[in-house]
């Protein structure tokens, strides 16, 4: 899977937009606690005051600084997305490569489980878990990862099946390499480009899920979350606060998800040469 990544990616406007936005949000979420002018849990300000010199986006109904809240919320949503996406990627790659390499019984079991998990609506299980057990967001992220690995492992399995036939893998088998050795030493590094595509796609799903769960009121109410901010702000839409309270979290969420969507689509067309002709939008 040789691709001239640097040349093609720099010429791709989708990729550049996606990576630009992603870098901005990365910086915001890494530096958030240092950039925030106030403690977002500090409730000592005048509730529902408009934006001013000290409070860039005003103060919410609980007397908390909205700008600081927003910085923490972006950070939490990003972190949730990445933890969930990395966990899904890890499970998906290991199971997909094993299923493709060992075949037979292992393959059948893994792919059957994958088929079934794809059909189960993850949000329902998350709502169930969140309503009954009130787990931490990280537990929820891992549960979500448990529903997102099947699409990744299907792609990895298909790629493993074609890699099995390649010369260097057959040479490794001839030299007496065992299954796990070949998976670890040859298959897993070889399929690296596929991971980037999977990671972006799953991060998108996970961020969307986090915002939705927060919006539905299923996450810890003291934890800052974009969904939760939107939910609270929507209750005050009649008070002319929508542009400084409702809009910022909506715009942040949209740009974050647009960014990972762009990355997923552009990486797919840069890294997967079979698709390049179909996706590029101009005649090759």
């Amino acid at each position: 899977m040789h691709v001239r990544f640097r040349e093609t990616s720099l010429k791709d406007p989708l990729f550049m937009t996606g990576i630009g936005l992603a870098v901005i949000f990365m910086v915001i979420s890494l530096l958030g606690p240092f950039l925030a002018p106030f403690d977002p849990w500090d409730m000592s300000f005048v509730p529902i005051s408009p934006p001013s010199e000290t409070h860039y986006l005003g103060v919410n109904d609980g007397g908390q600084d909205i700008f600081s809240e927003l910085l923490y919320a972006v950070r939490n949503t990003m972190l949730f997305g990445f933890i969930s996406a990395f966990a899904a990627l890890g499970i998906g790659v290991i199971l997909g490569a094993s299923a493709g390499w060992f075949g037979g019984f292992v393959d059948m079991i893994v792919m059957r489980i994958a088929d079934v998990l794809l059909a189960v609506p993850a949000i329902m299980i998350l709502i169930f878990a969140a309503a009954f057990f009130r787990p931490t967001p990280w537990t929820l992220a891992l549960i979500l990862a448990g529903f997102m690995w099947p699409t990744i492992s299907k792609g990895i399995r298909a790629q493993t099946l074609s890699l099995r036939q390649s010369l260097h893998v057959r040479a490794a088998v001839q030299m007496g390499g065992g299954g796990f050795y070949i998976i670890r030493r040859h298959l897993i590094p070889e399929m690296f480009p596929l991971y980037l595509i999977g990671l972006a796609a799953k991060a998108k799903m996970a961020m969307f899920m986090e915002a939705s769960l927060g919006f539905l009121g299923l996450l810890d109410p003291t934890r800052k979350s974009l969904g939760l901010m939107i939910n609270y702000a929507l209750n005050f839409y009649y008070m002319d606060v929508w542009w400084n309270w409702l809009m910022p979290p909506i715009l942040c969420l949209s740009f974050m998800i647009v960014s990972v969507t762009f990355l997923a689509i552009s990486l797919e067309r840069i890294l997967d040469p079979r698709l390049r002709a179909a996706l590029s939008g101009r005649t090759p």
Binding site: L14, R112, D115, V116, L118, A119, V120, P121, A122, I123, M124, I125, I127, F128, A129, A131, F132, F133, T151, K154, A158, K204, M205, F208, M209, A211, S212, F215, L216, G217, L218, G227, I230, L234, Y237, Y238, W242, L246, I250, L251, L253, S254, I257, V258, S259, V260, T261, F262, I265, L275, A277, A278, L279, G281, R282, T283
Partner: protein
């Protein structure tokens, strides 16, 4: 039919989870309801509540029988049977989500085919970029923006509900009212579902156009429309249906959010209200039954693939 067996197992596993998980909780519904609230119960009150709400309800076998008999428990908050609440909300959700899927599938498919046919034109570039951006915008954002603009500022559409409350209307007026309430949530969902369908159809159609049988069909002198749809688009339809099954389970999330934004009286709003009030029997019932319904839809799609593409019987694609 290994797949049917796997789906039945999955359904059974979900039923068992919904039976076992609440019983794993320390205590029961009564402690869950009152444990974290300010109310302090005396021993007698607690015993009485427990007898009233839970009673002695038997094991897993009787749980399944009660499930089949539509006896899904009793809501603490709405004070009516869960099944009644569920079946009051279900038609609205089916109307909203079903119509949104139908419109976005049909429009996405035809637009995708037509645009792929007009390769490298301004129209194609514009449509593809527009849809790619739209693909990234989540339902929460489009929903709230449409609500702010068209309902709260311009006042063209109602902001909540599914029909005009307490109005004594003729049949025609009633249907018009339902449609009027439906517009905004429907547009939000279509905007969320359409880009995926459009981009998928366009991408597979672009590959199909290059196939040799398309050249043959044109060389035979068939009309462009017949070449495009009878020979080309049929092959581009399959990925659309396959992906629909894969995406459906995740698209449920958006429908929940949209119903909550527009306070549309479907299952999503019922679930939202139940979550706000910690009404555990309703959450349990709605989650279980709607997941089983999604499982059934996806299983039946498996049979639709076989009709569209007979090759699948021999080798499972993907």
């Amino acid at each position: 039919m290994a797949l049917v067996a796997a789906f039945c197992l999955a359904a059974l596993a979900m039923v068992y989870l919904s039976y076992a998980l609440p019983r794993l909780l320390p205590g029961d519904f009564v402690t869950a309801m009152y444990g974290s609230s300010q109310v302090t119960l005396s021993e007698a009150q607690e015993a009485e509540l427990r007898a009233y709400y839970t009673g002695d309800r038997g094991g897993f076998g009787s749980y399944i029988i009660r499930l089949a008999c539509l006896d899904w428990g009793y809501s603490y908050v709405f004070l009516s049977p869960v099944s009644q609440l569920f079946f009051e909300a279900l038609p609205w959700t089916l109307l909203l989500v079903g119509l949104a899927h139908l419109i976005s599938l049909v429009v996405g498919f035809f637009a995708g085919v037509e645009v792929a046919w007009r390769r490298s034109t301004v129209l194609e570039r514009g449509m593809v970029s527009g849809m790619t951006v739209l693909e990234g915008v989540p339902e929460i954002s489009t929903g709230i923006l449409l609500l702010l603009i068209f309902s709260l500022n311009l006042g063209w559409f109602p902001s909540a509900g599914a029909e005009t409350a307490y109005a004594d209307l003729s049949m025609v007026d009633r249907i018009a009212g339902v449609m009027h309430h439906l517009v905004l949530p429907l547009v939000t969902l279509v905007l969320a579902y359409l880009p995926g369908n459009f981009l998928l159809t366009r991408n597979s159609m672009v590959m199909v156009i290059k196939a040799q049988y398309m050249i043959t069909a044109r060389a035979k002198g068939l009309s462009p429309c017949r070449v495009r749809y009878a020979h080309g688009a049929r092959n581009a339809l399959l990925p659309l249906v396959t992906r629909f099954g894969l995406r459906l389970a995740f698209m449920i999330t958006g429908a929940l959010v949209v119903e909550r934004i527009y306070a549309y009286p479907g299952l999503g709003t019922l679930l939202f209200n139940a979550i706000q009030a910690r009404d555990l029997p309703v959450i349990q019932g709605v989650v279980l039954i709607s997941s089983l319904m999604v499982l059934a839809v996806i299983l039946s799609l498996e049979f639709v693939y076989r009709i569209i593409d007979p090759r699948i019987d021999h080798a499972r694609a993907f």
